[in-house]
């Protein structure tokens, strides 16, 4: 007796078999004459320079981490979506609280700038910067006040 997931497994088996047969059939027909030039990695005609496993943007990891959190929570919501009507308003609110917690996490990440691809530079409050800024502001204020008094007089 085939279960419904057994049928899905048949689909996957068939796909794998199809790719295998297609590649094998091509193997019987196609030529095989490797040369040194063919066997080098493609880099637009130049000789490959350095290791291809280059460092890539750290953002990819951050995106993967955020995705992980969201995906796990969404998976937990699927059973709720099927049955929440049986529990009326209570069931609905329970799911919404869950969603709100997720939303707060999202808002936090947004505010931290983790959703920007080019992340803004962290604004580290050095004491010297702070003093300089404050003195600048006060001096500006004084100038503004002076001009204002000038205008009024």
């Amino acid at each position: 007796m085939l279960t419904e997931f057994g049928k899905i497994f048949v689909f996957i088996l068939l796909a794998v078999a199809f790719v295998g047969i297609a590649i094998f059939a091509a193997k019987l027909i196609r030529p095989h004459r490797p040369t040194q030039e063919k066997l080098t990695t493609y880099e637009c005609g130049e000789n490959p320079e350095g290791t291809p496993w280059v460092q890539f943007n750290i953002r990819f990891y951050v995106v993967a981490l955020i995705f992980l959190i969201f995906d796990v929570e969404v998976v937990l919501l699927f059973p709720w979506a099927l049955t929440y009507q049986d529990y009326g308003l209570y069931g609905f609110l329970a799911g919404i609280i869950f969603l709100v917690v997720l939303g707060i996490g999202m808002a936090y990440e947004w505010q931290k700038g983790d959703l920007e691809w080019a992340r803004p530079k962290p604004n580290i409050p050095y004491l010297s910067n702070l003093i300089k800024k404050n003195t600048d502001q006060t001096s500006e204020n004084i100038i503004v006040e002076q001009t204002e008094t000038n205008q009024t007089t």
């Binding site: 068939l14 590649i23 027909i29 196609r30 496993w53 995106v63 919404i96």
Partner: protein
């Protein structure tokens, strides 16, 4: 269809293999042949060119010639490639995109597997494609491939969240995960389709419709991004990354990536159709029912499903020549800052309306 074949053959596993082979050989392969040509003809038409017109009448045999060429192509595995992973990747990618067809209802009589978790299963199994893409890109030992694979993976997993949220809202609305049951609910006339408020009546239907339409747009956009189509094709951006994760692939292995891309195009159309556009239901009644020939109804349903699916495929081709490619930061901004918050809102509103 499986039941009908089983009546003839009596051996379950054989009849299931035949039933599973039907969408592959009767549908996906002819569709890919047709769609590759159609894509080239549509793009030629939109750019005021002629397109392929040498092989056969107006170039209709062009794809057959392409396939014959691909079969004869030498299969180059470069010296520095990770051979095992490099060879496994096409299997994973094609298996992932073909397995999604197991839960797609082509008509009320043909669905690969009557599993209860339908759409959830499709979302889950399509993640296999990400693994295949990452594997291929990593094993290619090529900078373009690696970057393309990383971009592709980041894009697919990001856009999976809006897809899942919209699907979640639709599960709340229909109360089922099976695409077959969703299609059955949208029966009779086209104003019963989910995009126009489904089976709700009166004022609720009018309130619901704008949210359904926006849900449809979000689902279509994010599934489009999941299959790396233009305007979300930065993984394969040919002006910067040659051709992304399959730069190193040649011959039949490349053909498998290509085939799975076209299979995915139809899968997107099919999912959007089944969830929002009435599935296999006709927009008005069935001819078979009105003249009393019941066996005509499944055939009509198959016709309507394919027609809607192919129309969505045409829209994808149309978008390809309408919109420019997005930059990678724009892509992430659209997903995380616009689509996800809006689909949250959509989920809550549809949930409240369904509860009433």
């Amino acid at each position: 269809m499986y039941e009908i074949i089983n009546d003839f053959i009596q051996i379950e596993i054989v009849s299931m293999f035949i039933s599973a082979a039907l969408p592959l050989f009767v549908f996906i392969l002819p569709f890919a042949l047709f769609a590759v040509l159609a894509e080239r003809k549509v793009s030629a038409f939109m750019q005021d060119r002629i397109g392929p017109n040498r092989v056969g009448y107006h170039g209709i045999l062009q794809t057959v010639a392409d396939i014959l060429k691909l079969i004869q192509k030498e299969d180059i595995v470069a010296e520095k490639n990770d051979k095992v992973l490099f060879n496994i990747a096409p299997y994973l990618v094609f298996a992932g995109s073909f397995a999604a067809f197991a839960a797609i209802p082509f008509s009320s009589k043909y669905i690969g597997s009557h599993t209860e978790v339908g759409i959830f299963y499709i979302i889950a199994i399509s993640s296999l494609v990400v693994a295949g893409i990452l594997m291929g890109g990593w094993a290619s030992n090529n900078k373009y491939s690696l970057l393309g694979a990383m971009r592709s993976a980041a894009q697919i997993i990001s856009y999976e969240i809006p897809t899942a949220l919209v699907v979640l809202a639709m599960i709340m609305f229909t109360g089922t995960m099976s695409l077959d049951a969703m299609s059955q609910q949208q029966t009779a006339y086209f104003w019963n389709w989910n995009i126009l408020g489904g089976h709700e009546t009166g004022i609720l239907k009018i309130v619901l419709t704008p949210f359904m339409i926006s849900g449809f747009l979000i689902l279509f956009t994010s599934t489009l991004a999941e299959v790396n189509r233009v305007p979300f094709d930065i993984p394969e951006a040919e002006s910067e990354l040659v051709s992304g994760f399959h730069t190193e692939y040649t011959g039949m292995k490349f053909a498998m990536f290509f085939l799975s891309e076209y299979a995915n195009m139809f899968a997107v159309g099919a999912i959007v159709t089944a969830v929002f556009l009435g599935g296999y239901q006709s927009p008005f009644g069935y001819i078979g029912n009105s003249i009393g020939v019941t066996w005509l109804v499944p055939i009509e349903q198959f016709f309507w499903f394919t027609a809607k699916g192919l129309f969505m495929v045409f829209v994808q081709m149309w978008l390809r020549w309408t919109l420019p490619r997005l930059r990678v930061d724009q892509l992430m901004t659209i997903c995380w800052k616009y689509l996800i918050p809006y689909s949250f809102l959509n989920l809550i509103v549809i949930g409240i309306i369904t509860l009433l």
